[in-house]
């Protein structure tokens, strides 16, 4: 591959490069082998790397996440694909009980990556559209990343695979083919734990991640707004958030997770405690209502934050 790639192709490239460079890396998940995965992310990898490294699994998420932990214990670097992030409720226990707590309890490193295609806008309904990152935010021992650009899709995945802690990598289904960009260099890494100012501005900061990044940029068109892409949503890059609002004095938190889940609670908690004197206006939260993700287009469109609703809230915020 060279030249322009999609977000999906960047993920695939990161997997392929990691597989090429490190024998310890292998992939496991449902239908990721000759079929290439439900979204085609692993297409071609089976042919290049064979079934020992691109392993189809039975439908047993708790089991194969547990097995990936065991392989990581033995020094491998497994990368699990969940068919949809929604199904992460099934291996929840293996993640929070075993993957998250083993290093703290014993010093044993568990270098494990779980890739989870999340997010809505694909008319997937309540079980194929969720943003479940909130379940893992705050969990000691886990790292959670959500790339919002082609570059970070590659760079965060490479960093996650090379990291010695369990990392959940939420990739946005709606970005798979929508985002295009330069094929990242094989050396490209996005450091874990570092947010990035993707657009500078001085009148307000939008803190967001994943598909929220593009939405924020679109909604901010023509305004002097800073957009901070968290990239790693747990542990949070608190300094980056505080530095940005120190410059702009106004904050909008934008997420696709429902209002009372996701990252919003952490960011607003942080800002309320440590940014109390930095803010000139109450922070604004733009997020879907506290309901499951509806299927019907009329409902899902009303549910999802849009450039229009973000813009409207932004104008309110600026007018405060």
């Amino acid at each position: 591959m060279s030249g322009e790639v999609t977000y999906l192709e960047a993920i695939r490239a990161a997997l392929a490069d990691a597989l090429r460079e490190d024998d310890r890396v292998f992939l496991l998940g449902e239908d990721i082998g000759h079929f290439g995965g439900a979204f085609g992310v692993t297409k071609g990898l089976f042919e290049e790397f064979g079934e020992e490294r691109i392993m189809d699994t039975p439908i047993a998420e708790e089991g194969f996440v547990g097995a990936a932990i065991g392989a990581a214990w033995m020094g491998e670097r497994p990368v699990v694909e969940l068919q949809f992030a929604d199904f992460i409720s099934c291996p929840f226990d293996a993640i929070v009980t075993v993957a998250a707590k083993t290093h703290w309890r014993s010093g044993q490193r568990i270098p494990l990556v779980i890739r989870a295609p999340f997010g809505g806008g694909v008319r997937g309904g309540p079980f194929h559209s969720q943003c479940p990152e909130g379940w893992f935010i705050g969990q000691p021992g886990l790292k959670v990343v959500c790339p919002g650009s082609v570059e970070d899709a590659y760079g965060l995945l490479r960093s996650a695979i090379e990291d010695d802690d369990p990392v959940i990598y939420f990739e946005h289904k709606a970005l798979y083919r929508r985002l295009k960009g330069k094929l990242p260099d094989p050396e490209q890494r996005t450091p874990l734990g570092r947010a990035r100012v993707v657009r500078s501005g001085s009148d307000a900061t939008i803190v967001t991640y994943s598909a929220g990044v593009g939405l924020a940029i679109e909604a901010a068109a023509g305004l002097d707004i800073e957009v901070l892409d968290l990239r790693t949503v747990w542990p949070l890059d608190a300094d980056a958030v505080l530095e940005s609002i120190a410059r702009t004095s106004k904050l909008m938190m934008l997420q696709e997770a429902t209002r009372a889940t996701g990252v919003a609670g952490q960011v607003l908690s942080l800002v309320s405690r440590e940014g109390f004197e930095l803010l000139d206006a109450p922070p604004v939260l733009v997020a879907p209502p506290d309901t499951p993700v509806p299927f019907a287009p009329e409902l899902e469109d009303a549910y999802q934050p849009s450039a229009a609703t973000v813009r409207q809230s932004l104008e309110h915020l600026l007018a405060y």
Partner: protein, 334 residues
């Protein structure tokens, strides 16, 4: 394949003619409704994805019709005919696929994710395996109350690997509740063949050996055979003989979902599975039904589907103003 190449469904003299015709109707309804669904999806009028039970209609119809009037069931993705057997209309189903506001899930959920729980049909959740313990709990309620009712669910060879079916089957056994499990053993979970999912692919042997639940094995392309076998299982469960299972051998006629061309299915495997509807038709002819009568049933089903489609298309879209409703039976907070 020519009609005359298709073997007849088994004779099944014990199955009354009403049930035989009922099965034929249910299978036709599923087939024709799903044909509409696929067409609507191709036209972009159904969003998201669609899953069909094409070629698996005999299992859906046979098991669905085997239930008694007060029994309950949690169908999965391949069992549209089971919904129809339990009283769902074609319009109900199509409204759900079309995301209509007055459909069974009010436009909140889509495709096969619907039910009529108040009438004994639990709405499918995606997470495979989850519904097994749920029907076991329903069966437990029947047992506690001494009601002669049965709770049924389905799963595939794929879902057989989930922890939930293990826990559910074990609970059913040790509690000895009237639950019936119908396994759609269709060679594949999505693209993954059964041999890559389990060592012994004869699921009925596994269920008997691992969970001590009697499990018949039946030709899932033969509606009469499925009906007979599941009906017997349902009645055993009802009589207090504890949980029962039936493994139905079948094969998906379509891909896993609309986007999957199922190229991974070998042609020779396909050739082993003839159309279950035509197979029943052959038996109905042997039963003495005329070609005209059979065509009449086909036309009636087609009319029913057309009417259902018209009703569903005319139904209102959901009102975005209802977006925040329905989350709780008794809302609190604000």
């Amino acid at each position: 394949m020519q009609k005359d190449e298709i073997a007849a469904a088994i004779e099944a003299p014990g199955v009354p003619s009403e049930a035989r015709l009922g099965l034929f109707r249910l299978m036709l309804l599923q087939r024709l409704t799903e044909e509409r669904i696929v067409a609507l999806y191709r036209q972009g009028r159904i969003s998201g994805s669609v899953y069909t039970g094409f070629m698996q209609e005999a299992v859906a119809a046979g098991a669905g019709l085997a239930l008694g009037p007060d029994d309950v069931v949690a169908p999965l993705n391949r069992e549209l005919a089971c919904h129809f057997a339990r009283g769902a209309t074609v319009a109900d189903a199509l409204k759900n696929f079309l995301g209509k506001g007055d459909g069974p899930t009010f436009g909140r959920d889509g495709n096969m994710h619907f039910g009529a729980p108040a009438k004994g049909v639990f709405p499918l959740v995606s997470m495979l395996g989850d519904l097994c313990p749920v029907v076991v709990g329903a069966a437990l309620a029947f047992k506690r109350r001494g009601e002669p009712r049965v709770a049924m669910t389905f799963w595939g060879d794929g879902a057989m690997s989930t922890g939930d079916v293990h826990e559910g089957m074990n609970l059913a056994g040790v509690w000895r509740v009237p639950a019936v499990f119908v396994i759609q053993s269709n060679h594949y979970a999505y693209s993954t063949p059964t041999e890559r999912q389990m060592v012994n692919t004869t699921i009925s042997e596994r269920i008997e050996g691992g969970w001590s639940i009697p499990c018949g094995r039946v030709d899932g392309m033969d509606a009469l055979a499925v009906y007979e076998s599941v009906h017997a299982a349902v009645e055993r469960a009802r009589r207090g003989e504890g949980p029962q299972a039936v493994e139905a051998l079948t094969l998906r006629g379509h891909g896993h979902a609309a986007h999957d061309d199922a190229r991974y299915v070998a042609a020779e495997l396909r050739a082993r599975y003839a159309d279950p509807i035509e197979r029943l038709a052959v038996r109905l002819r042997l039963d003495g039904l005329t070609e005209e009568a059979i065509d009449g049933h086909r036309r009636a089903a087609a009319d029913e589907v057309a009417a259902g489609l018209a009703e569903a298309e005319a139904a209102p879209a959901p009102d975005p103003a209802t977006l925040e409703e329905g989350v709780y039976a008794t809302p609190i907070g604000r």
